[in-house]
Amino acid sequence: MPLEPALLKNMIAAAAERIIGSADELTALDQAIGDGDHGINMKRGCAEILANLDAIAAKPTGEALKAVGMALVMKVGGASGPLYGSLFIAMGKELGDRPAAMALLPEVFGAGVSAVAARGKSAAGEKTMLDVLTPVLDATRAGGPGLAARIREAAAHGSAATIPMRATKGRAAFLGERSVGHMDPGARSSQIIVETLLSFLDERT
């Protein structure tokens, strides 16, 4: 079924607000294994989205996704800007001028995840946001009944799975073995976004 503009607006706002509300948690995770700016960077990007929410939500869904991505690219200021930016820009490009529909989610989200992998020259298993996005994509592709619950589980499992991993990408790679034992902040922010968006889909799947 198509995505109504009001729902799209609520979804974007909820995800941005939830990330802003989680800034301290994300910063704490990033202080353990990165440069400690993930929370504050994502907060800056999400504040930009909220400041332009009406203009963004007034666009067709594909264009709105691209606008969300560009706001993150331009305002986040760390590597997570281009990474999340590429996710949403690629999803917007893939959707194009088609109306958003659940049936298109695997294809559209798949294009976004591929863009993140290309931008980060990374794959799942390297203690990054891809450790959440990839299993979420797999669950999305599998489809079937109880989809929302399975996606939620895939996201939670994915972020938890980064705790014992040794980082080989980003700042955490400098820590080597010392990165083991900490959840990846990008995986956690991805889980938060996925969970927030799912709360809108629960009643529909």
Binding site: D35, D37, V73, G77, A79, G81, P82, G85
Partner: protein, 130 residues
């Protein structure tokens, strides 16, 4: 006189970016244009795609622009900036995988002799472990 390849220095710290550009000017001179940027959109430590785009514009040479970066986010944001360039400029901007200060000096030295963009990058990257 034909223009030389120019440089853009991108650091998380505006001071490091400025200092690196100053070292290049002092050691290599003015025949290689050097633009620099550092700091996130709020002015704290980090990098900013918009400022990187402005620096590329400022340094622009038809021979090409070599970008030197410090840490991961500077690299990712510079790659993003290159992708956002107009199509005719995109292929003439490259990222050098090298230490920022030493790479900038080496790249500028090479560029000052009229070397191509590929040669400038290769010289900067000689410093990187393989």
């Amino acid at each position: 006189m034909t223009e030389n390849v120019s440089l853009v220095i991108v650091s998380h710290s505006p001071d490091v970016a400025r200092g690196t550009a100053e070292m290049v000017r002092q050691m290599v001179g003015d025949e290689v244009k050097v633009a620099h940027c550092g700091g996130n959109p709020d002015g704290g430590l980090g990098t900013d795609v918009q400022r990187i785009l402005r620096a590329i514009d400022e340094a622009w040479s038809p021979r090409g622009v070599a970008i030197l970066v410090d840490l991961g986010g500077a690299e990712t944001n510079s790659e993003m900036a290159i992708e956002l360039l107009p199509e005719d400029r995109r292929s003439r901007v490259v990222l050098c995988n090298s230490p920022i200060v030493e790479g900038a000096i080496m790249a500028a030295t090479e560029a000052s002799g009229g070397a191509s963009l590929a040669e400038v990058r290769a010289t900067a990257e000689e410093l990187s472990p393989r």
